[in-house]
């Protein structure tokens, strides 16, 4: 595949950066829509494995954007994608942080927060469901998704345990000839 032009990478992620309320997980459906459907940089399967790699590695989940940049345009793509995703929102946070320190506790700020929180949570749930639709093709993978969701919902243990257990279960399943 021909490398994607850097200006396109920069534009795509810079505009995503400014709407990514709730962080990378909340924009996952939009990320997938842009990268797979609109721009055609990769297919669903590749997107799902990049997402899984980003989740399995430590660090902010926004790193999936760096990974996408790397995948479509090498090291330059990685640098441009990361900066485009991080810089606009960070500058906004910088300014907002100073304003809020001055206005701490103001009523308007609390109303904004209370209004945005449910949308944020709804967007994260949507991300999970969209990812599940991409990743789950058989009973075993549906079970792994549901199992991990319960694990995270009910416990405060490190999610890494669930992710690595899922990898092992899926591996055993393929040896036993189960479709995944």
């Amino acid at each position: 595949m021909k490398p994607a032009p850097l200006w396109q990478i920069a534009g795509t992620f810079a505009s995503l950066s400014l709407v990514a309320i709730g962080g990378a997980n909340a924009v996952m459906p939009e990320l997938q829509r842009q990268v797979v459907q609109v721009l055609g940089w990769m297919n669903d399967t590749t997107f799902a494995s990049l997402f899984a790699i980003a989740q399995a590695a430590p660090g902010p989940n926004v790193l999936i954007v760096s990974l996408i940049g790397w995948h479509v345009a090498g090291l330059a793509g990685l640098a441009v994608a990361s900066l485009a995703m991080i810089l606009p929102s960070s500058l906004l946070a910088f300014g907002a942080g100073r304003v809020v320190t001055r206005l701490a506790g103001a009523r308007a700020i609390r109303a904004i927060q209370r209004g945005l929180v449910p949308i944020t949570v709804g967007l994260i749930l949507a991300s999970g469901v969209v990812m599940a639709a991409t990743a789950d093709h058989a009973a075993l993978s549906i079970l792994l998704t549901a199992g991990t969701a319960f694990y995270v919902f009910l416990s405060d243990w490190n999610p890494l345990w669930a992710l690595s257990t899922a990898a092992i279960v899926s591996l055993l399943g393929s040896w036993l000839g189960l479709p995944a």
């Binding site: 709407v19 494995s49 910088f94 942080g97 945005l116 991300s127 995270v152 899922a166």
Partner: protein, 192 residues
């Protein structure tokens, strides 16, 4: 409010001094430890281990980080860095938070591209992808439980979920329409 001093007494700026190196090492640790998301580790390091911020200060900064676009922890890093070492501190905190995970991620990804042809790797990765989806779903459910939303909040959450997750509308349009309505509703609900 007593006096016209810009720094509110509830947020004492110079309560604690945090040096540049300290800032760098702290956020480096948060990044490296943060498997499956850095948010829990950020609180542990900033509040419990190093006591840079009190629980209340941390919660108020995180709240701002959450309502702004961009990764919550990254926004938090910008604001914490700025508070202790001005603009340079913000830069240091963000760089420290991103550097190690990025290096690890590139190593993992290049190993993956080399080994992706093996069926074992492919099936392990498909299992991980399924679990990663579950991690996101479980996180949303957990947040819902902890936030104890009002009925109206649940309604707005569901509308956002259906618009994006089921109908697959573009995010910008959904947020642009839904956010002002939800904020107005929250403001009115408070007054009622």
């Amino acid at each position: 409010m007593p006096g016209s001093d810009a720094s509110a007494p509830s947020l004492p700026k110079a309560a604690k001094r945090v040096g540049r190196m300290e800032l760098f090492l702290g956020f480096l640790k948060i990044g490296v430890l943060g498997f499956g998301g850095v948010a829990p580790w950020a609180r542990r390091v900033i509040v419990e281990e190093r006591a840079w911020l009190s629980e209340e200060e941390y919660a108020s900064l995180l709240g701002v980080g959450q309502i702004l676009p961009g990764p919550n922890t990254l926004n938090l890093a910008v604001m914490v860095g700025d508070r202790f070492q001005r603009a340079l501190g913000a830069l240091i905190a963000v760089a420290a938070l991103m550097t190690m995970p990025l290096a690890i991620l590139m190593a993992v990804a290049s190993l993956y591209e080399r080994f992706a042809a093996f069926p074992e790797v492919a099936s392990a990765m498909s299992g991980t992808a399924a679990a990663a989806a579950g991690l996101v779903i479980g996180t949303a459910l957990k947040m819902t439980r902890r936030l104890r939303p009002t009925r109206m909040a649940i309604l707005f959450g569901l509308v956002a979920f259906v618009a994006i997750g089921v109908l697959r509308f573009p995010l910008i349009a959904v947020v642009a329409v839904l956010a002002p309505i939800s904020i107005a509703a929250a403001a009115l609900e408070r007054r009622a």
